[in-house]
Structure formats: structure tokens, C-alpha cells
Amino acid sequence: METSIWRALLYLVGLMAFAGVNAAWLGWCERKGAARIQRRIGPCEAGFAGLLQPLADGLKLMSKQLLVPQGVDGIIFRVAPILAMIPAITSMAVIPFAENVGARAMELSVLLLFALASIGMIAILLGGWASGNKYALISAARSVSQSLAYEIPMLLTVITVVMISGSMNLRDIALNQQGGFWHWNIFRVENGHFLTMWISFIIFFICSVAETNRAPFDMAEAESELVAGFMTEYGSMGFGLFMMGEYLNIVVGACLTATLFLGGWDCPFGLTPGIWWFLLKIYVLIFTFIWIRWTYPRVQVYRLLNLSWKILIPFSLANLLVTAALIKVF
């Protein structure tokens, strides 16, 4: 692997740009998508099809005063939104966009991603806690229990993938699935057995919706219950960073799903692998995120935990055992 400083810098700039553009224009995608589902037009005034809307929103948010209310923990209150943004951007570094496009191919990149995802949860906890607002406090408590509940099934399903690939390096996992959709982990055939990886995929996808605090699992910002949850006291770019952090988490979640289960940059027909396939996959997944959000009502907080502890965890455990048995024993 090349170790020139330029490569690192190039990737840093490229990734930052990719993250920034996504964070801004996914908001536009979300609004357009929601509008179409609800048979509206959505943003259409600022630029062609409202494409400049994110710029206008960003300018508006930046020009507003960052209000720090009385009685909040000033430092933590200011740090929390930044903390929400950083892990999401950092995660991008280990994602293999294509065979030769990717900042770092670390050996334990899967572990790193989960570690960073937990930091994102801490940002919500800190933001909610520091606000000194009761709604924010409830929201913070909710998001912790939610993260706790959903990291377990998520990790259990990832173990199945790691077992198959024999590596925790995302690039190796993706390389392992090259050559058409029948090689992808989701349709994996090993030792002549069709593995139950599609269950893993569904569980992983549900968990990533929950991990990114998206509806129907948006316990932390349940706007009809907790006003805006941990963001209640945030205005200006504090709010903007939380929003961008959320969208970036979606991107990371989609990237991870695409890499772990959908063959990364592989072409479904085994023809021309490349970065465009990867992008196509993640945007389809992101659209599914949006689609789900605008379809379902919110899950009640204890149902959410029930879903994880009573359905997802048993299923992912069983799935793990079955997969292990099919690979190693039979």
C-alpha cells in the first residue's frame, strides 16, 4: 500500500467533501422523497428542483446565534454536536468504496466502526444531559437503552459475516464476495448449503435503522412526545451538526450494509465492478431508509426494546449457531 502523505491528504479532502455533500443533500433527498410519497412537490423554489435548498438552509442555520441557555453545562453543550459529527466522518476512512478507493484498509475495521458508532450515541447522551431540559434528559436515557439493545444483535449478525470471510477487514470481506450476486454474503452458499444470511441481512438492516435513530425507531427525538428530544435546546449550527451527523450515520450504515452483505463494489452480474456499483447500492439503501421513515408510525419505547431482546437477539443467536454449524460441521 502506498504511504505517501499526499494520498492521505487527498483522501481526507475527498472524504470530507463526500461526507459534507451527502450530509447536506441527503436532507434534500429526504424532503423530496417524503414529498413524493405524500404526493407533494417538496422543495422547488431554490434552484432547479430546489437543489440549492440545502445551501439556503445551511446559510440560515449558520447566520443564527448559537444560543446557550441558562443552566446548561456550557462546554459539554457545545462539544456534543461536534462529537456527533466526528465519528461519522471518521468511519468513512475505513470504508472501501472500490477495490482501490478507500483511505485505509485496517485489519479490524469492523470493530473500529462499532466503536465509533458508540461514540455517536455518547454525543446524544451528552447533548441531552447537558441541555438541562427534562425532555432532553428522557431522550438521552432512551437513546442509551436503545443503543445498548441494538448493538448486540447487530454484532451477532456481523459475526456471521466475519465467520464466512474469515476477516474483520472490510476490504477483505468485500473482496471475498466478488463475481456476481450469487457470491454476495446475503445469498451465500457455503459447503453446498444455502446459508441463512438473508436473516442476518434483515436483522442488520433493522438494527442500523435503530442505531441511526431513524423513524420508526427515532425514540431519541420523538417529536410528538419529547418535542425534539436531545435537540430541544439546540438552535443554529448545533442543531445543524446533529442533523448532518444523523445523515452521515445513515451513509455509514448504508455503506456497511452494502459492504457486509451486498458485495461492496461488485457488479450484480459479475461484469464490471467499480465504485458506481457501490454508490448505487448505498443510495438504494438510503432511499429505503427514507421510504421506511415515511411509511410507519413510531414504535413505542418499550416495544422497541422488546423487539430487540425478544425477537432480534434470539433470532440472531440462532442464526449465528445455524451458520456456524452449516459452515463448520455439516
Binding site: I37, R40, T295
Partner: protein, 150 residues
């Protein structure tokens, strides 16, 4: 335990159905109206604020200053004044003020008028930063309408 499996099966089915429905809606045409670009036409009975009806030929208000509208008004938003008609019988209107901030658009004034002197305007996009703009001089409005007609 059967409830557990039943929930999982029917639940997943209902979730997929939901996604199918929103997907179907996604491809249907837009139903909203883009307000400033597309202007709706008001129905014939639409109640905007009231306005005076002028005589077909002279353009003078039909009002005979009987004060029925003022009495019928449930929010006391009409104040009108008239003077003796010189060289004729009855009275002529000198001022007709409508305080639209109080009006509840009930239509009692128009109904109470026996002389076809009042009607509803079709104006619906009234907006202002100053509430004094809604204390309307209907005489002036009628004059302007007459001028436009000519």
C-alpha cells in the same frame, strides 16, 4: 408462544404491505396546488370581506342607509353614515367603514340587506403588517372599482 410467531408473520406482512402502499403513492401524480403560481378560483358563494354594490348605470352605491346590516352584525364591525338626499327622497351614503379585523364572515349583513347594496368580494389573499389596513373604507373601494370599470 403462538402469539409470538403470529405477530412476527402477520407483522412482517403488514410492514411489507405498508411499504408497497407508500411505493405506489410515490409514483402517483402530485395533488398539491403551488399557491402563488397556481391561483384557485373561488366558488360563487365564497365569502370574502363585504363590499358595496354600485348602481349599474351611475355607479352610486345602492345603499339607502337603513342600517340593517349594522344591526345584524354579530361583531359590530360595520359603521356607516349617511346624509339627507338633497333634491330627492331618502338618504345617501357618506361613509361605510368595515373593521375586517373583527368580522367573522357570517354573512348576516348581506342577508339582511333588502336593497342589493352589499355583496361578498372574492378576495382571499389579504395580508398586511399593519392591522389598520383592515379597517376598510368601502366607499373608496367602490369608487376605485367604478374607475376600473370605466
Amino acid at each position: 408462544m403462538s402469539g409470538y410467531w403470529h405477530d412476527i408473520v402477520t407483522g412482517s406482512k403488514s410492514l411489507v404491505t405498508g411499504l408497497a402502499i407508500t411505493a405506489r403513492e410515490f409514483f402517483k401524480p402530485v395533488v398539491t396546488e403551488q399557491y402563488p403560481w397556481e391561483v384557485p378560483t373561488m366558488t360563487p358563494l365564497f365569502r370574502g370581506h363585504i363590499e358595496l354594490v354600485g348602481n349599474e348605470e351611475t355607479g352610486e352605491p345602492n345603499c339607502v342607509v337603513c342600517g340593517m346590516c349594522q344591526r345584524a352584525c354579530s361583531s359590530a364591525c360595520i359603521s356607516l353614515d349617511g346624509k339627507k338626499n338633497e333634491g330627492g327622497k331618502g338618504k345617501v351614503l357618506t361613509s361605510y367603514m368595515l373593521d375586517f379585523t373583527k368580522c367573522s364572515l357570517c354573512g348576516f349583513c348581506v342577508e339582511s340587506c333588502n336593497f342589493n347594496a352589499l355583496r361578498f368580494s372574492k378576495e382571499y389573499n389579504l395580508a398586511s403588517f399593519d392591522k389598520n389596513d383592515f379597517v376598510m373604507d368601502l366607499m373608496k373601494r367602490l369608487e376605485e372599482q367604478n374607475r376600473c370599470k370605466r
